[in-house]
């Protein structure tokens, strides 16, 4: 059946089988492989994308269920060459090692900051508690999100804060 949705600001229409999961629609039908696919059982959270601004596990959502909705993936975070503050934060604070969990973490972080621009550590940990990272031990992820909270428009506008103490 035909589905039409907005993906990263662009309207796309495709003919899909109803059983196609959103994660495979994004990765295979649209070629947006930034969204990762891991456990397949709604546990690991690497497949998280934003649907109408809310983090959703795309391995447990049918593409047809997002017909008419707005989807945002990791490819839609940067504005041209300017990275989103959460992406900059993950770079500044080493929020990733292998990077497998990162797309989901970035999108959850974006959604959290949109709702609560100044979250404390407990709030950040709660927000990412549905997502597993096997590398970082989460400490640097939390610091990365805090970095983004402290630099709401990213690094270039506030270069002074970039200098290590």
């Amino acid at each position: 059946m035909q589905v039409t949705m907005t993906v990263n600001g662009t309207e796309v229409t495709r003919d899909v089988e109803p059983r196609l999961l959103l994660v495979h629609f994004l990765r295979e039908t649209l070629g947006l492989t930034g969204t990762h696919w891991g456990c397949d059982t709604s546990n690991c959270g690497t497949c998280v994308v934003l649907v109408d601004g809310q983090p959703v596990k795309s391995c447990t959502t049918l593409a047809v269920m997002t017909d008419g909705h707005e989807v945002r993936t990791v490819e839609g975070l940067a504005d041209g060459a300017t990275l989103d503050p959460v992406q900059q934060g993950f770079m500044a604070e080493h929020g990733l090692q292998c990077g497998f969990c990162t797309p989901g973490m970035l999108l959850t972080a974006r959604a959290l900051l949109d709702r609560d621009p100044d979250p404390d550590e407990a709030t950040i940990r709660e927000a990412i508690s549905g997502q597993i990272c096997r590398c970082t031990g989460y400490a640097t992820i939390v610091r990365s999100v805090r970095w983004a909270a402290e630099h709401p428009v990213g690094a270039p506008e506030q270069p002074a804060e970039e200098v290590p103490a």
Binding site: R19, K57, T60
Partner: protein
């Protein structure tokens, strides 16, 4: 890679439309709400519907409203919306206690209260919550609406009194003066299903004694409330001693099974201990000064 077997998909535009679609597509049609229980079952071929009727567009099923002495919660209300509602937290702290430990925040963005009750998983937390609050369930069908007590909805694991051609549309939670409620769950890790959990509501009389008490257990092999444990509290002042007795009775009423989450004696111990804890906080929230007599164990 896990993918569901092929099926046809249709979106309902109203409750009446959903009912018609379920009727037209026959016994192999299933409602999908959040899909966070149904889709995993379809991936594993534990469910193989030929038609999915998607009810996510039914905004009329997505509301939380106070209506006199009850709170009306639409079946499509998401876990996250229940947790975000101040009204819910104020009237029924047990709902917030439970929602904080149901799955994880991302799953809670999709899963619904109607889907939780419709799934009837023995480890489902909201079923116990609704039992304890003596909820009423509104079910729409071809011949109109019927309202049943939550205890009538239960038909055993993964089965409910909501027929395949019907739709749960609303939960009604009675608001009781001088009441307090609480829920506590033991889980192996964040976001997991319960090893065991307990919920309780305590209603105090004018004289400070317990006028009504209900206790429910999750993943402990008890369907509905622990009736004897609740009855033992009637007319007594809230006290550690009374709660210990209720805990003992609740544990006796449970029939846990051994699985990867733990052995039987551990789970029975949890039934006892968690019952005491939720009674303590439910009574405290109802405004009781719990008499702290020395009790052994716990």
């Amino acid at each position: 890679m896990q993918v569901p077997a092929p099926f046809d998909y249709v979106r309902a535009t109203s409750v009446a439309d959903a009912l018609q679609l379920l009727d037209r597509h026959g016994p192999e049609a299933r409602v999908v709400a959040g899909g966070h229980s149904l889709l995993p079952m379809m991936k594993l071929r534990l469910a193989r519907p030929e038609w999915l009727v998607d009810i996510n567009d039914l905004a009329e099923l997505r509301s939380i409203t106070r209506d006199g002495d009850r709170l009306r919660v639409g079946a499509l209300t998401r876990h996250a919306e229940l947790l975000a509602s101040e009204l819910v937290g104020e009237l029924f702290p047990i709902v917030h206690d439970a929602e904080r430990v149901i799955a994880d925040p991302v799953v809670r963005n999709r899963g619904t209260i109607g889907g939780s009750l419709g799934q009837a998983d023995p480890a489902e937390d909201l079923t116990t919550v609704c039992d304890v609050l003596r909820a009423q369930v509104v079910i729409a069908g071809r011949d109109g609406e019927r309202v049943i007590g939550i205890e009538e909805l239960h038909r055993g694991p993964y089965e409910t009194a909501c027929e395949q051609t019907e739709l749960i549309t609303e939960l009604r939670l009675p608001i009781r003066p001088r009441s307090g409620s609480a829920y506590e769950k033991v889980e192996r890790r964040v976001g997991d299903w319960a090893v065991a959990a307990a919920g309780a509501q305590v209603v105090l009389g004018e004289d400070g004694t317990i006028a009504d008490a209900s206790i429910g257990l999750t993943a402990l092999g008890l369907e509905g409330c622990a009736v004897e444990a609740g009855a033992a509290l009637l007319g007594v002042h809230p006290s550690e001693e009374a709660f210990a007795e209720a805990g003992r009775l609740a544990a006796a009423a449970s029939s846990p099974v051994e699985d990867q989450r733990g052995p039987v004696d551990y789970k029975r111990h949890l039934a006892d201990e968690l019952t005491r804890r939720v009674l303590r906080s439910a009574a405290g929230r109802a405004g009781a000064d719990v008499l702290a007599t020395a009790v052994s164990g716990g």
